[in-house]
């Protein structure tokens, strides 16, 4: 939701960004996924990463919570540099929530069981505490009545909402969304985007990799356009969508058939 902070964003100096990337580089063999990415995500902001496939958007997201380790550069969370090793990142991951394109709910657990998975296994919370919080979260995403259903019994949109609740159960400082609606039927995309919009209105810091331009335009505070591992352009939604300055941004929009 445009909280107005986008307009004052660049005017604020001195406040520590929630996440900052300094010249982050990553390659897979010979393929350069990230060619030196630098940007900031401020508290309470919804940053939308857009761009063609293979542009590095998902890689950047996965480097943020350490599912991929970067080759060089640094990523900071609340000003502290993130460790670049798997085990070190484990603690950090507890402070971030991630929602996957394929939902990745645990099929052998109920919806409630899935939402409880983090607090119980990782935070070692007692069963009742975890269960209570999990039911709260399921209510929040509108699926309290599906608590005892298994993922196989839920629609895609429902599964993704449970996945969001699961990530929220860890009380993260920031939520990372990796193309959350790309695997959904058009009818169910709306229900997921609504939950995300609600989260944004509540002030959650979010980084969203998405192809849903309407969502980015309406809910995003800061748009980052990526191509071939680098940031092409970044700015407020008005600026990017209405008057993009870079050729590649305009190209990208015309390929999508996006006319604003």
């Amino acid at each position: 939701m445009n909280q107005g902070c986008s307009k004052t964003r660049r005017a604020e100096t001195g406040s520590i960004p929630t996440v900052a990337y300094h010249d982050v580089k990553k390659r897979f063999g010979n393929f350069v996924a990230l060619a030196g990415v630098s940007m900031e995500v401020r508290k309470g902001e919804v940053v939308c990463l857009i761009g063609p496939s293979g542009s590095g958007k998902s890689t950047l997201l996965r480097c943020t919570n350490g599912l991929e380790l970067i080759d060089s550069g640094e990523i900071t969370l609340d000003g502290e540099k993130l460790p670049n090793d798997w085990d070190g990142m484990r603690r950090v991951r507890q402070r971030m929530g991630m929602v996957f394109q394929n939902f990745e709910l645990f099929p052998h657990r109920t919806a409630l069981g899935n939402v409880m998975a983090g607090p119980k296994s990782v935070l070692k919370q007692p069963r009742q505490v975890a269960e209570h919080r999990a039911m709260e979260l399921l209510r929040k995403v509108g699926l309290a009545d599906k608590a005892t259903s298994y993922p196989a019994q839920l629609s895609g949109g429902q599964q993704q909402r449970v996945a969001i609740a699961r990530a929220l159960a860890m009380d993260p400082e920031i939520m990372l969304f990796d193309e959350p609606t790309s695997a959904l039927d058009p009818e169910t995309i709306g229900e997921v985007l609504n939950v995300m919009k609600q989260l944004a209105e509540e002030g959650m810091t979010m980084i969203v990799v998405t192809h849903e331009m309407t969502f980015a335009r309406r809910v995003g505070d800061w748009i980052v356009v990526m191509d071939r591992g680098a940031i092409v352009e970044q700015g407020s939604p008005e600026q990017i969508f209405e008057s993009p300055t870079k050729e590649r941004t305009r190209d990208f929009f015309s390929h999508l058939g996006w006319s604003g």
Partner: protein, 219 residues
Amino acid sequence: MNYDWSVVWRNADVLWEGTKVTVFLAVTTMAIAIPGGIALALMRLSRIRTLSIASAVFVELFRNLPLILVIYSAYYILPVATGVRFSPIATAIVALGLNVSAYNGETFRAGIASIRQGQSEAGYALGMSRFRVMIDVILPQAVRRVLPVLASSWVSLFKDTSLVSVISVGDLAFESMRVRSQTFRVLEMLTAMAVIYWMLGYPQAKLVDWINNRYRVSE
């Protein structure tokens, strides 16, 4: 030639004892071989190269040897290698246990590997350690997935227990053939042996089919 089928009834108690030994061997072996198989699979997937290689060698070795040879070898090698006198039945359990663990090791490895990477990632994203991800996310799914294969593995094991008769373990095969030698009722006893194995094995085979069907439906 006249047949005397009553020899079967007269020795029913001996055959029953043999059957009990057969079932005992199968159950005990599987009780060892399932945790054994999981352990071997985890070793194979471990990042510690020594463990991974040791597991691979172990599994390849036992999968490429006849069980009857393993049984004979165990019979002669175990007492010398460990300095402990093994009873025939203990030898049998060791041989069967090693053998089936190896097969299960490969089964579990394939099962674990078949779970989508995204599942582990979802676990890691929640802050789970590799250990937690394996225990809470991967293994529960892998075990369900390999259940049909384990069921087949059980049926094979049940039949393979007959091989321990060669080292004089008193299973169904051994007792049947012993009564045959004592009474010279060859056809009757051997047929009885076949029929009893059939009666024990047929329902198990059908159960395996049922498990396979149920598994396919829920996919």
